[in-house]
């Protein structure tokens, strides 16, 4: 980060190579579409490249980048008139997560059906390995809210998958019911 703050070009490439994959998955969790995820990651790097000396204050680059991505996505959401910009298409070819086997479609659908906030927590915690405390910091909520979102997300996915397999299972409450 200090090198980037000092304006060294190779610093941005190094930072991209180290964190781009994680940021991309995070972006996919929020946007569910590759082009928008790419735009989001691009916007994050533009933002940090123009931050300047304030980067000297950053202690954990990964946290800072994911936090930046989250707020950038929120800004983009606010700028849209229709709110969550979702193409209600669940065609297999449009899915960003690649799964294998017959159950993979159900899993992708279950993940897709989650609210963005819950999906974000699932990705950050399960895929990226952040703790709930870190997820809370990255997404601007408390530890308990992050944990509750995760619990609800997994519960809903479990219910969806159980339904898809023909077993009756009540759907978990939404976060709004809490």
């Amino acid at each position: 980060m200090q090198d980037l703050a000092a304006g060294k070009p190779e610093a941005l490439g190094e930072l991209y190579d180290r964190h781009a994959a994680s940021l991309f998955r995070h972006a996919l969790a929020l946007t569910r579409r590759r082009p928008e995820a790419e735009d989001l990651v691009h916007a994050v790097f533009v933002k940090i490249a123009t931050t300047g000396t304030a980067l000297l204050d950053v202690r954990t680059p990964a946290h800072y980048l994911h936090r930046t991505l989250h707020t950038t996505w929120i800004d983009a959401q606010r700028r849209t008139i229709t709110g969550e910009r979702v193409v209600e298409s669940f065609a297999t070819e449009s899915r960003v997560w690649q799964t294998g086997g017959a159950d993979a479609i159900d899993l992708a659908r279950a993940l897709d059906d989650l609210p963005p906030a819950q999906r974000e927590v699932v990705v950050l915690h399960l895929i990226e390995g952040f703790s709930f405390r870190e997820v809370g910091r990255l997404t601007g909520v408390s530890l308990f809210t992050a944990a509750a979102r995760y619990r609800l997300a997994i519960g809903r996915m479990k219910a969806k998958l159980t339904q898809a397999s023909g077993l009756a299972q009540p759907i978990a409450r939404t976060e709004d019911d809490l």
Binding site: T53, A54, R59, R67, R137, K158
Partner: protein, 477 residues
């Protein structure tokens, strides 16, 4: 399906990597202009906070909220500990400074006031102990008590009481043959002094003297009065208690008003009255009490609480907590104990200054009882309570004793010269080495001739004391 199965499936999902074009797009679209930053190697957080973007501040704030709270709590605890330690050190220095001031003025507080050892064969106190051991209390009352002054004629039950104590009275007569005294009292040892027996012995001598006066045997009565005065004289050297000679002085008053003792008997009474005078008044007694309180406070500061200290600090019977809690509480609140210690020493020094001053002394109001929530003042009050009465008690004794000395000297003057003098100065130096001073007026007792007799008036700390103490003398002849 379990939750862990769902988690496992999600982990197994193949997530896409960002396309290679994205890297090229990022690096190509973002112009990086190298510009050296002064202090780039400095530690994070050293930059001007105003230049930080909001997002960075939010990240830092949200990430360190709990840590910051913990640091604040820790700093608060450290501040409290530091404050308590500073308060403790300050209070200790104040106590030490006060002790140094008191010791420079009144002598060391570490050593206990000790009475010089005396030969056993010449020790009045031992004879008083022996006689008191034979004393028998009133048999017809549940408690040994009778009001003073005793009416004349002496009631039958009191006569029986005097008769029952004949052996004790006979032994008490030996007190007159002893010239020194040391009660060999062990401070802090309960039951070391037979106060009840000594009190009963004094009562028996008083009643017996009244009976002898009624019987017209004035010299025998004066002999009993002398024995009673001997008990008081045995205590005058002791710093931890003072003579209790009210009854002997009442008997002396009745001896002069209702009988005609001989010159020799009166001379002996006069000598023993003088022997009852305390060498330095109440000052050694107040000092002894201050030393005792100082020692208790010093031990209390270390959490060492004995039974006496526990009873002073926590005299309440409910809730009945174990005494050990006083020591623990004293150690936790040591700065407050030391503050109470300081105030105690200051109050006692004020009492001693007052006692050492000229008579009549100024009347200082006793400190009012502290408020319930003023713990330091309450602790001080527990130790210093009653100290303000010491000077009053000593002055009452001195006034009463002075009046008795003057009265006896007047009677001796009359026996020699057939009349009472017009002025008390005539008694000096033959009958008195110097005129006793009434502490409340700074003058000798008020004397006036009245017919063939005289009246003598001394004051006391309270007007009602004249009802049962020998402060007013109306001698008819």
């Amino acid at each position: 399906m379990k939750r862990t199965d769902v988690e496992h499936l999600v982990r197994q999902m193949a997530w896409p990597e960002p396309p290679a074009s994205l890297r090229a797009r990022v690096l190509a679209d973002i112009p990086i202009v190298e510009q050296p930053i002064a202090g780039a190697a400095r530690v994070a957080g050293s930059q001007d906070p105003a230049r930080r973007p909001q997002i960075a501040r939010e990240t830092e704030r949200s990430g360190h909220g709990w840590r910051r709270a913990a640091v604040l709590v820790g700093l608060g605890i450290l501040f409290m500990l530091g404050s308590c330690t500073g308060f403790d050190v300050w209070a200790n220095r104040q106590v030490e400074a006060e002790i140094a001031r008191i010791e420079a003025r009144f002598g060391t507080l570490d050593e206990k006031t000790r009475v010089p050892a005396v030969p056993a064969a010449d020790n009045r106190a031992r004879m008083v102990r022996a006689a008191a051991a034979l004393a028998v209390r009133l048999q017809d009352r549940p408690y040994h008590y009778f009001g003073t002054p005793v009416p004349s004629p002496v009631p039958a039950n009191l006569r029986a009481f005097a008769e029952a104590n004949r052996e004790a009275i006979r032994l008490a007569a030996e007190i007159r043959n002893r010239h020194q005294s040391n009660w060999e009292h062990k401070p802090g040892v309960r039951g070391d002094l037979p106060w009840t027996d000594i009190s009963i012995l004094g009562d028996a001598l008083y009643i017996s003297a009244l009976i002898e006066i009624e019987a017209g045997r004035a010299d025998e009565a004066s002999s009993l009065i002398v024995s009673d005065l001997g008990i008081g004289a045995s205590m005058r050297q002791e710093a931890e208690f003072w003579p209790s000679n009210e009854q002997a002085l009442l008997a002396t008053r009745r001896l002069l008003t209702a009988s005609a003792p001989s010159k020799a008997a009166l001379k002996e009474v006069a000598w023993w009255l003088n022997e009852n005078r305390m060498p330095d008044g109440m000052r050694p007694r107040i000092l002894a009490r201050m030393k005792q309180g100082h020692e208790m406070f010093a031990r209390l500061e270390q959490g060492d609480v004995d039974r006496d200290t526990a009873e002073i600090v926590y005299p309440e019977s409910w809730p009945d907590w174990p005494s050990a809690f006083i020591g623990i509480a004293a150690q936790i609140g040591r700065p407050f104990v030391r503050t109470a210690h300081l105030r105690y020493l200051q109050q006692m020094a004020q009492v001693i200054e007052l006692e050492s001053g000229p008579r009549p002394r100024p009347v200082l109001p006793e400190p009012p009882p502290p408020e319930p929530w003023a713990f330091v003042d309450r602790l001080t009050h527990r130790f210093a309570d009653g100290a303000w009465n010491y000077s009053d008690a000593g002055d009452d004794l001195a006034a009463e004793l002075g009046a008795a000395e003057v009265a006896v000297a007047l009677r001796r003057f009359k026996l020699d010269r057939k009349n009472y003098p017009d002025d008390l100065s005539a008694l000096v130096p033959v009958y008195l080495t110097r005129l006793p001073i009434d502490p409340y007026t700074g003058q000798p007792p008020a004397y006036a001739r009245q017919g063939d007799g005289f009246t003598l008036r001394a004051k006391a700390s309270s007007p009602w004391m004249t009802r049962w103490r020998a402060l007013e003398w109306n001698v008819p002849k």
